[in-house]
């Protein structure tokens, strides 16, 4: 009885944190640069493939530490890609209308998909969960995989760290000022282009990191790039135009609704996410947390 009620909640929280981990970098870049990055999924996928290759190289069973290190390494590699992308593309599109950066990010999505196909081929791969995270916790008749608990914890931790940086550090205040008025920030002597470069690098790092962290949960194929992007866009907008707290709340709200909805209407799993998203957009078009940038 308890499990019937709690198990969808648990599953919903798990998928919420998956979407949130995916969406953090996207939210950061959209919140500050106003670029809706279609390529985010592509670089997330790149991170997952890189982590997959590293896991293969190490071989054997992964410990939690090596799993985290591999993910961070994938994040750094993708972050470096971000630096190149910022230098070559985003910086040049700064003074062009936002709509055109859409083509650029879509082109990047194609390039990352092509790169993955050329390097790793089109066949499916999958990685095993580190054995330390492979078991499950059973409470009554509620079964909770340790990996899912781990991801939920990581999602919450990721949110807490970002929230702390944004609200309580000088860097965070700088980011907020830049998000609300880049021109004025520049006037006050902040090196805006360099700051933008850092944001893009961090955003891409987060994409790669998420790719590595969620690797045991995914089947690797070149389609992975477009799996989470739409959900992440939804979370981004329902949360309120690129604000981390809103994205966190929105991912929980939408995924938990979807999780319960899928039990009631099991013919079309996943549909309630979008139904809830549409209703939220109509009921509260300004987003869950209005007005706040980041």
């Amino acid at each position: 009885m308890l499990a019937e009620f709690l198990s969808p909640l648990f599953n919903g929280l798990f998928s919420a944190m998956v979407v949130f981990l995916f969406a953090t970098g996207l939210t950061l870049i959209f919140g500050i640069l106003r670029i809706l990055n279609f390529a985010h999924g592509g670089f997330f996928m790149l991170g997952a493939y890189l982590a997959f290759t590293l896991v293969r190289l190490i071989g054997g069973d992964m410990s939690i530490a090596s799993y985290l290190l591999v993910s961070i390494a994938a994040g750094i590699a993708v972050g470096f890609c971000g630096l190149v992308v910022e230098r070559l593309i985003f910086r040049r599109l700064q003074h062009v209308d936002e709509a055109y950066s859409l083509i650029a990010t879509y082109a990047l999505l194609l390039i990352s998909e092509g790169a993955v196909k050329a390097i790793w081929g089109v066949s499916f791969h999958s990685a095993t969960t580190p054995s330390a995270l492979g078991s499950a916790v059973v409470v009554g008749d509620l079964v909770m995989p340790v990996f899912a608990i781990f991801i939920i914890a990581l999602g919450v931790l990721c949110y807490a760290v970002l929230e702390w940086i944004l609200q309580h550090t000088a860097v965070g205040k700088l980011m907020k000022s830049l998000a609300s008025d880049p021109w004025m920030a520049g006037m006050l002597g902040i090196n805006v282009p360099r700051f933008y470069a850092w944001i893009v690098v961090i955003g891409f790092f987060l994409a790669g990191l998420a790719g590595g962290l969620l690797l045991p949960n995914q089947t690797l194929s070149p389609n992975l790039a477009s799996v989470f992007v739409v959900q992440a866009f939804g979370v981004l907008i329902v949360g309120g135009m690129g604000n981390i707290r809103g994205a966190f709340l929105a991912s929980i709200l939408l995924c938990v609704i979807d999780s319960y909805g899928s039990i009631v209407f099991s013919q079309v799993p996943g549909i309630f996410f979008y139904v809830a998203m549409a209703v939220m957009l109509l009921a509260r078009p300004q987003g869950l947390i209005a007005g706040a940038r980041l």
Partner: protein, 341 residues
Amino acid sequence: MTSSTNGSTINGSTWRRDALIAAVALAVLVSLPFVANKGIVFVAGTLALHVVFGLSWNLMFGQTGLVSFGHASFFAIGGYAFAWTAKMFPQLHPLLLFAGAGVLGALVALVVGMIALRRSVGVYFAILSLALSQIVYLLLSYTPSLGQEDGLTGIRRPLLSLGLTTIDLARGDNYYYFMIAMCTLLAIGLWWVVHGSMGRVFKSIQQDPERAAFLGINVQGYRLRSFAIASGTTAIAGALYGPWLQLLTPEIAHWTFSARPILYTLLGGVQSFWGPVVGALCFAVLEYGTRTLHGLSEIVVGCILLLIVLAFPGGLLGGLSRLGKRMAGKPAVAAKPELAR
């Protein structure tokens, strides 16, 4: 070059120029089966549908400033509606079914638009349309009578009875010519909407919705009209797609397909009527040229797209017209459509 960007009245020179461009394009398309192989004819037929797809999207974006990220769902609604009804009611006239698919697309857009446009514009409407298109995609992927993820197969090219004579569209290149004729009619319809009196109202909304409202224009109502017309047109293009491919899968409702008309329009240029046509043509050429380079084709297409965006941030036609103006010594005016406001 300037006539279609500033004034929207149908003046002689715009009409003559566009008719000339259309005639040349039609001549090429009609003669293609005689000179080119089947592969190229297939690409050209598909291109004609994509052109209508792109033109109708730009009716919303270029004319009333409405960004839809879910335009493919109407393509899919039309496609599935035609394929399903043609299978269930084979005695009905195919032209009736094509028209029915268009009406269905327009009606769905009306209902959705009446709710959605009341509350949201800009990026909110974009993401809302994305959510709705995902719902369509999931419904198509999980409905048993529509073939779920395998889609509908064996869609027949119908017999077209025209009173005096009956044309078997399954024979030879008949369906190709039928499609070209239909796409031409749809494109003329869109051209007429853009350049007629409704188009002028649309244009005023795109330029400044607030001022248009102040002048007594029902902004929401006209946006709704452009949404419904664009969706109905796309639904007919979708309906034509089923018998052309003889197969429909939910992939035509996927968001990556919704991105297509956006790319065509932005790549070709928003301000010109011909922008999406140029964009779609570029895409078709790129994809056909790189089709044998497995995996590398995405990289090549992506890189060329990037180069075009970086070189001509206002779209190809916008870039060319600016280049032309600079040569003539006039100051350049950049095209500036708005996505978020």
